[in-house]
């Protein structure tokens, strides 16, 4: 059992929690149970990647409320909704907010398990993406202010001469800055640098 098999069940119906835990455990998942959203939030965050199987209609904080909270937090946990009383507007809202699936009770084990696997994969992807971005951000942090300015202009596709004119420097200085940026960001080509800048969300900052 590795960590990528972590499933979190949140439902106010304890008997169902029990049944689902048995099922998922037999399937080889690592299962944690909570009877309310508040209880889940109060507990320590489960390691990512992981998939939450979430009941929508619970007293107090509903499933959608919890989803909103987790999205705002930037969590990489995937969410599969499992509800007894699901309607279309509710499912649309859930899916728009990034839910993997919206299942209704009673659920077939195959459907639930395939959704959970999808969720775990999505969570892992999110996690991976998050790790890469963190790495790139770390490299970006090593740049000086001037180098960051140069990076911005370069990724906008401006030639050295024009960048020099904009910053009030000679073209030769810009060339030096540019090669340093390439080195620090470990970019082998201009195209690679542009992709990195895009993932960090730098190009969009046009001011």
């Amino acid at each position: 059992m590795n960590e990528s098999q972590s499933v979190i069940l949140i439902d106010d119906e304890t008997d169902l929690l029990k049944a689902l835990r048995r099922l998922l455990k037999a399937e080889g998942f690592q299962v944690a149970c909570h009877t309310s959203a508040a209880e889940f939030l109060a507990a320590a965050r489960p390691p990512s990647p992981g998939c939450i199987v979430l009941d929508e209609s619970m007293p107090g904080m509903t499933g959608l409320d919890l989803q909103r909270e987790l999205v705002a937090e930037g969590s990489t946990l995937a969410i599969v909704f499992l509800t007894a009383r699901g309607d279309i507007p509710m499912s649309v809202r859930a899916m728009k907010a990034g839910a993997v699936d919206f299942l209704t009770k009673p659920v077939k084990d195959k459907d639930l398990i395939s959704s959970i696997r999808m969720g775990l994969k999505k969570s892992a992807d999110l996690e991976l993406n998050k790790n890469e971005v963190d790495l790139l951000r770390g490299r970006f942090e090593t740049l000086t202010d001037r180098e960051r300015e140069v990076l911005k202009f370069v990724t906008q596709g401006l030639p050295n001469k024009q960048i020099a004119a904009s910053l009030g420097l000679v073209e030769q200085t810009i060339k030096v800055h540019r090669s340093r940026v390439m080195t620090k960001m470990r970019a082998e080509s201009l195209a690679q640098l542009v992709v990195v800048a895009e993932r960090l969300g730098i190009t969009s900052q046009e001011s």
Partner: protein
């Protein structure tokens, strides 16, 4: 100038003139018998005066005899006319007295005809010329005839008759007429009798001058009759004024009638309308308009009943459709009262158009009915959706448990303990599902609730068992307050349990945001009055506002839910003849109570 001729011819012409006037009056008004009698009397008086004047100038005894015959005829007629006048004018004479006078007078007339030379004198000695008022007139010289007494007696009886008639008229209320006509005629008749006797017995020397006395009576009568005429003229004038007043009054009432809104009518007891302000929709074949013509045939019995009630009780109020002359109809409110007109019971009624209010009332009723239907449908849908949810839970539990068991069995070494637990849970969930279905069936089976004796404690315990999961999850501190001795009550168990479940679930939701304060749920039951009271008390967020409006359909304070739970609960409790109410706690939270009678009144 001969004064005697002037006096007697004057009397004659005056009498004739008066006779002519009243003859004319009688011709114009044939019912004026008094005028005819007066005319006759005046004419005969003129005749008498003529005869007397002739006798005063006679020179031959034979000629005198002939004149006396005419004279007697005139006096007979005068007497008859006088009696006739009194009879018609005063209308108070005794018939037998009248007949006696006429009889005696007729006898005197006949005696005069057959006795020689006449009834006044047994023998006539000759004719004397005497000086009367400075004029020489002829008087008869002779021995008075005792038969003359008949005439005198007749005069006295006449006088007696006149006195009697006058008195009777006076006491009957005709004071002025009796005094003037009656007393003057009595006076003149008596005076005439006296004068006649004095002359006949030779005490006084004078010619026969009875006509002058009768002229006196005629004068008084003429005065009286003209007085009557004046009075009738005045009366006519008054009448005219009255008529003008009446016409004005009539115009006013017409204006009132025509101006009245709706229908205003006056009818007699036989249902015929005397006055009304509207044309009836279906005028009846006969000339008379009946109030029924304003109404539809099928409304006639109700109308008749109300009208009869008006006549028997004095007034009535009712509401019916009034037909208009264009065939349309509109709802009117009628108020009728009984009034007396000319001592006959009549009915005056007014009808005011209330079609707008009526339509509004109908629409309101319709809307209410619609709302009731909608809320019924909604409550059914809410009920079925909540039951679907409740049945889905155990099904989901069973399915997942069964699938888990299948996986266990596929393992090389299945965990038997695990399998046993799974099967136990499956059985429990199955029982739960069956219970939900049983409830659903009992709710859907509308009609007479099945009343069975229910022990309050067992009801409460059953509900707590059903809600165990919810209560455990909520973490609320549940305390029960049930006295040992409580009477059983008759109820349909499942709906009442459902009410308690609803109230407890509401309480749990109300306490959801309690946080560190902790949740406290107090369930109690007590005998109260002739019933049992259940109470659910929480320390949650309480009621938004106190008032019955929380029991209204579609009212909700929860983000989910249709707001029918309390409404349905109330319906169930009311169906048991009980009462459901809420109150805000002094500290925190709210309490819901319901009171059920031991035996609901089955109606």
């Amino acid at each position: 100038m001969n004064w005697v001729i002037v006096a007697w011819t004057g009397a004659t012409s005056a009498s004739l003139m008066l006779a002519a006037i009243h003859l004319f009056v009688w011709i114009r008004n044939r019912k004026a018998w008094a005028s005819l009698m007066f005319c006759l009397m005046a004419a005969c008086t003129a005749g008498m005066a003529g005869c007397e004047l002739a006798m005063m100038r006679v020179t031959d005894v034979n000629q005198l005899g002939a004149i006396l015959q005419w004279y007697n005829l005139s006096r007979w007629a005068v007497t008859l006319a006088l009696i006739g006048f009194m009879h018609f004018y005063l209308g108070a004479g005794r018939p037998w007295l009248e007949l006696t006078v006429i009889g005696l007078r007729t006898l005197a007339l006949l005696l005069n005809l057959f006795v020689s030379p006449n009834a006044y004198y047994s023998s006539i000695d000759g004719l004397n010329r005497i000086i009367f008022f400075g004029q020489a007139v002829t008087v008869v010289e002779g021995i008075p005839n005792p038969l003359m007494l008949v005439g005198q007696v007749s005069m006295l009886v006449l006088a007696a008759y006149l006195v009697d008639t006058t008195w009777r008229a006076y006491t009957a209320g005709a004071y002025n007429r009796a005094l003037r006509v009656g007393s003057s005629s009595v006076f003149f008749v008596l005076a005439l009798s006296l004068q006649t006797m004095l002359v006949l017995w030779g005490v006084v020397e004078a010619p026969i001058m009875a006509s002058l006395f009768f002229l006196g009576i005629v004068g008084v009568m003429a005065f009286e009759l003209s007085e009557d005429m004046l009075r009738s003229t005045r009366l006519a004038e008054n009448l005219q004024q009255r008529e003008v007043d009446l016409r004005r009054e009539r115009k006013l009432t017409d204006a009132v009638f025509q101006g009245a809104p709706g229908l205003l009518f006056l009818q007699s007891q036989d249902g015929v309308i005397r006055r009304w302000n509207k044309r009836p929709a279906n005028p009846s074949e006969v000339i008379e308009t009946k109030i029924h013509d304003f109404f539809r045939k099928e409304d006639h019995p109700a109308l008749s009943e109300s009208l009869e009630k008006t006549f028997s009780e004095g007034s009535a109020n009712f509401e019916l459709d009034l037909l208009h002359s264009d065939g349309s109809a509109s709802r009117h409110f009628f108020s009728t009262v009984q009034i007396e007109i000319g001592e006959k019971p009549h009915l005056i009624g007014i009808g005011i158009d209330v079609s707008a209010e009526h339509a509004l009332g109908l629409e309101l009723a319709l809307q209410k009915e619609k709302l009731a239907r909608v809320s019924q449908i909604a409550s059914m849908s809410e009920l079925s959706s909540s039951l679907a949810h409740e049945i889905n839970q155990p099904l989901a539990i069973i399915l997942s448990n069964a699938e888990a068991a299948q996986r266990q069995l596929e393992l090389p070494v299945p965990n038997h303990n695990e399998l046993r637990d799974i099967l136990k849970d499956i059985v429990a969930a199955d029982i739960r599902a069956a219970d939900v279905i049983r409830r659903l069936r009992s709710i859907l089976q509308r009609g007479q609730p099945v009343l069975k004796p229910v022990a309050p404690s067992s009801l409460l315990n059953n509900v707590l068992r059903l809600l165990k999961t919810d209560l455990d999850n909520s973490g609320a501190l549940v305390s029960k307050k049930i006295p040992k001795r409580l009477p059983n009550f008759l109820a349909d168990r499942i709906p009442v349990e459902q009410v308690l479940i609803n109230l407890i679930k509401n309480a749990l939701e109300a306490m959801h945001g309690n946080g560190t304060r902790g949740k406290s749920l107090i369930l109690s039951c007590a005998a109260e009055g002739s019933g049992v009271r259940f109470s659910v008390r929480d320390n949650g967020c309480g009621l938004p506002e106190s008032g019955d409006w929380i029991f209204e359909a579609f009212h909700t304070t929860k983000p989910t839910g249709l707001g029918l739970g309390l409404k349905i609960s109330q319906t169930i409790i009311q169906a048991h003849g009980g009462r459901l109410w809420a109150e805000v706690n002094k500290g925190r939270g709210a309490s819901f109570h319901f009171h059920l009678p031991l035996r609901p009144e089955t109606t």
